[in-house]
């Protein structure tokens, strides 16, 4: 089966290379038959990669340790669910997952557009397949999950080696969120190849319209959603599994996923200006190129071993290939943009500084600055090693000192942005619109000061959160009232119809509300508390208003690990509220890895977070670390709201912009019917 997997990858490589060449040749020589053949080769390549993916899955499920990846990432004792997850539990297999998702997304887009954008599609196919060829090359020749283990005997001869059992999946990865986290995050990284391919195609084909933006908007939104969801699943995993008390640590790999999300967010906003006003065409293409490159950069960071991270795979020799590829993509894109600059001239100029365009521009500027600061901080250890010979790591204080003020400014813009109209807004109407939300924001700030809060940034975040929630609520209320007045509908029906008739705008507001909730959650982190103590049965540990009384210690044996757990009775202000059982597991793998399983009591106000970190050398005392983390609950709720809002914007529309974007498609569909009737 390993040989079959290898064969499928090689075949996919040949097909993808042919697809790229045939599509380009077909476009240059105006031979639609060649383009069709290229598109079919792309689909066949996608099918072949699916077979390779299926082969690796089969090898994992059948405990066939002849393949190196299975021996490295799985074991006989591993539960079925984690055997599937083991496919992306180590370097080589995760590369195959990357290739599989790339092929799948490329295949779907090529199929979706077989009757649309016929002038762009040959180049889109070529860009997508070129990208696939690069990753297939790495997957076949550098990082191959089907490669076989060999044993070198005393006389120097090499023999095929099949171990009795595999090394097992890293216990830290044996958690539900970690199983779905990589595929979701990969979709988020890879999906930006679609707007990138269309943007490049529109430049190559000298297509001056916004067709590439309209067609790729749902893809961009979906990719952005997956990247955000992947980030938050990673944060949840770090919080619940890694057991260091928090959910975000400015780890290089966390940063590498946050950067494309920031530039992607900037793109989603600035693209509206191009649609509405025909402005920022060069900027939008640059943002797409940067976002796509940051996605590649993310996987480069994880796979090259260039930075140390809890997430990173061990050192590999992939780095130079990634650097070469990124440099090629960057220089080719910049050359193309420079060459087509006259075609990208804006249709309008900025009318007024008090306009939605300028609010969006400011938002773009902040997001890009935040992204650059994170990039600088992430790469600083590498840069300092190059320049000074010693690795200087940049810690959380650097990232916080830059990103917290930027984050607060962005939060402020989230609130004021909707007050601005396109082109210009009068100062008087701004004053009117600002009045009530500002009063509420100032009132919230005063209440926090009176309540004893002295932490400036947290206070600002919470006051701004109140301000923004008030503006969003006002948007919905005013809109529903106007609609109710015009149509005679009652308030609730008018509110529902208002959202359904303009999903992009109101879905966007729901996303903003989600972001505000996440900010509220983050603001709470300034007030985290931590206590640790060695306990024996009957003893207590106090933290905040909680008392944790140890009542028992139990040990047990599971299929893949042995465990010891401490039973803690939790009292709040003297009243029993929960029983928590933090656990330590020792896995039956070659290296006997030990992990701590976090015990969590979560409420909207705060999380009680308890870890059992070890037993004293005489085996009588149990080390317990407890944290009280205020408002973390709202980070997860905010994420769910953000997902909900994005889904609202993605709902198919009946009228307006989306319908307009479908016009060429309807036309194409009609033409397709005519052609097929022949």
């Amino acid at each position: 089966m390993g040989d079959f997997g290898n064969f499928c990858l090689l075949l996919a490589f040949c097909l993808a290379a042919y697809a790229a060449l045939a599509a380009i040749l077909g476009a240059v020589q105006k031979q639609p038959r060649l383009v069709h053949s290229g598109e079919r080769a792309a689909m066949a390549s996608c099918a072949s990669i699916s077979l390779a993916f299926g082969s690796l899955l089969y090898l994992l499920l059948s405990d066939d340790f002849s393949a190196s990846h299975v021996a490295n990432a799985s074991s006989r004792a591993l539960p079925l669910f984690y055997k599937i997850a083991a496919l992306w539990g180590a370097h080589d297999g995760s590369m195959l997952l990357w290739v599989f998702i790339t092929a799948l997304i490329s295949g779907i887009v090529i199929r979706q557009n077989r009757f649309r954008h016929r002038d762009l599609m040959p180049y889109v196919t070529a860009v997508l397949m070129f990208n696939l060829v690069f990753f297939l090359l790495l997957n076949i020749f550098i990082s191959n999950p089907f490669s076989q283990l060999v044993a070198v005997s005393a006389d120097g001869t090499m023999q095929k080696y099949i171990p009795e059992d595999g090394q097992g999946l890293n216990p830290l990865l044996q958690y539900w969120a970690m199983v779905i986290h990589p595929p979701i995050l990969y979709v988020g990284f890879i999906g930006f190849v679609i707007p990138f391919a269309f943007a490049m195609a529109s430049l190559i084909a000298r297509q001056p319209g916004d067709a590439w933006i309209r067609t790729t908007r749902p893809w961009t939104l979906l990719t952005w959603l997956f990247l955000g969801a992947g980030l938050m699943l990673g944060a949840k995993w770090a919080y619940v599994v890694l057991g260091w008390g928090g959910y975000w640590g400015w780890d290089p790999v966390e940063n590498s996923a946050l950067m494309p999300w920031l530039t992607g967010t900037a793109f989603l906003h600035s693209v509206v200006i191009q649609e509405r006003r025909g402005m920022l065409k060069v900027w939008n293409i640059l943002l797409v190129v940067v976002t796509f490159l940051l996605g590649i950069f993310g996987t480069f960071l994880t796979r090259s071993g260039i930075v140390s991270s809890v997430h990173a795979f061990a050192d590999s020799n992939l780095g130079k290939f990634f650097i070469g590829y990124m440099l090629f993509v960057l220089s080719a894109s910049l050359f193309l943009i420079a060459h087509r600059l006259p075609m990208l001239k804006g249709e309008h100029a900025l009318d007024s500084i008090l306009s939605r365009e300028s609010a969006f521009l400011f938002n773009n500027l902040l997001l890009v600055v935040a992204c650059f600061a994170i990039l600088w901080g992430t790469m600083f250890p590498v840069l300092s090693e190059w320049v000074r010979g010693s690795k200087i790591t940049v810690g959380s204080p650097f990232f916080n000192s830059i990103n917290i003020p930027i984050g607060l400014l962005l939060l402020f813009l989230t609130g004021v942005g909707p007050f601005f109209a396109w082109r210009k807004t009068s100062a008087a109407s701004l004053r009117r619109a600002f009045f009530w939300p500002s009063i509420l924001g100032v009132a919230a700030c005063s209440a926090l000061i009176i309540g004893g809060m002295r932490h400036f940034y947290s206070m600002m975040a919470l006051a701004l959160a109140v301000f923004v929630i008030a503006t969003i609520a006002l948007e919905f209320i005013k809109g529903a009232r106007v609609r109710g007045k015009n149509t005679g509908e009652n308030f609730l029906r008018a509110l529902a119809n208002l959202v359904m008739k303009n999903k992009r705008r109101y879905g966007g507001y729901i996303v903003h509300f989600g972001v505000v909730l996440i900010f509220i959650g983050i603001a709470g982190s300034a007030f985290n508390k931590q206590e640790s103590r060695q306990l024996v049965s009957g003893q207590e540990l106090s933290i905040g208003s909680y008392n944790l009384k140890m009542t028992d210690y139990k040990e047990g044996n599971q299929e893949s690990y042995t465990y010891g757990k401490v039973i803690l009775q939790v009292y709040k202000n003297g009243k029993h509220i929960a029983t928590l059982t933090p656990e330590r597991r020792q896995f039956k793998t070659a290296n006997q890895q030990t992990t701590a399983t976090v015990a969590l009591h979560s409420t909207p106000k705060e999380d009680l977070y308890v870890i059992f970190t070890g037993v004293s050398s005489d085996g009588t005392k149990f080390e317990i670390v407890a944290y009280v983390n205020p408002l973390v609950f709202w980070v997860w709720v905010g994420t769910l709201v953000l997902i909900l809002g994005t889904m609202v914007t993605l709902l198919p529309g009946h009228k307006g912009m989306l319908a307009a974007s479908q016009e060429p498609f309807l036309k194409s569909a009609a033409l397709k019917a005519i052609l097929e009737s022949k």
Binding site: D3, F4, F7, C8, L11, L15, Y18, K30, P32, R33, L34, V35, H36, S37, R40, A41, M43, A44, A47, S48, L51, F115, R116, H117, R118, D119, Q207, P208, G209, A211, R214, E275, R276, A421, W422, R423, K424, T425, S426, S429, R432, A433, K478, G479, V482, N486, G656, M657, A659, A660, S661, E663, P664, L666, K667, A670, L671, I674, L675, K678
Partner: protein, 153 residues
């Protein structure tokens, strides 16, 4: 067994991929017709402007715009819309999607046939409408006229 399976897959992939190369070139016309034309862009700009005007009115009603600003912006957008409608009129469009499609097809066909010259005496083209005939067909795929003796083998 493995070699056999791989052989079958290569054959299937090769057949699927190369098939379009041996088909007739009906795709030429398809490629011609399915590109985004200037008409598409104008129709899209028109839709965007209509939705912008609707939004403008809404923003005025919720009190985000002063009356004077509203009037000024409304007349600017309307002037832009008028220009686009004028261009659409010049292209003979604007009365509906179906008609636009028909006109687009007719214009492009006329262009293609004009460049190919008169069909008289050309057995590969319909004598009635001038369209290219497909091999083995008894009727013209474009106008439906019987081809009679000029059926291509």
């Amino acid at each position: 067994m493995l070699i056999f399976a791989c052989g079958i897959i290569v054959l299937l992939a090769g057949f699927y991929t190369l098939l379009p190369l041996f088909r007739d070139s009906g795709g030429n016309m398809e490629a011609e017709l399915l590109t985004e034309s200037g008409l598409d862009r104008l129709l899209y700009q028109k839709a965007i402007l209509y939705s912008t005007l609707k939004d403008l009115e809404f923003e005025f009603k919720v009190g985000r715009l002063a009356r004077e600003d509203f009037r000024q912006l409304e007349s600017a957008y309307k002037a832009e819309a008028a220009m686009i409608l004028q261009k659409l009129d010049q292209m003979g469009a604007g009365t509906g999607l179906d008609e636009a499609i028909e006109r687009d097809i007719a214009a492009r066909k006329a262009e293609m046939f004009a460049s190919a010259g008169s069909p008289k005496g050309d057995p590969s083209r319909c004598q009635s409408c001038g369209a290219m005939l497909l091999p083995g067909k008894k009727f013209c795929a474009d106008c439906g006229k019987a081809i009679g003796d000029t059926v291509l083998q």
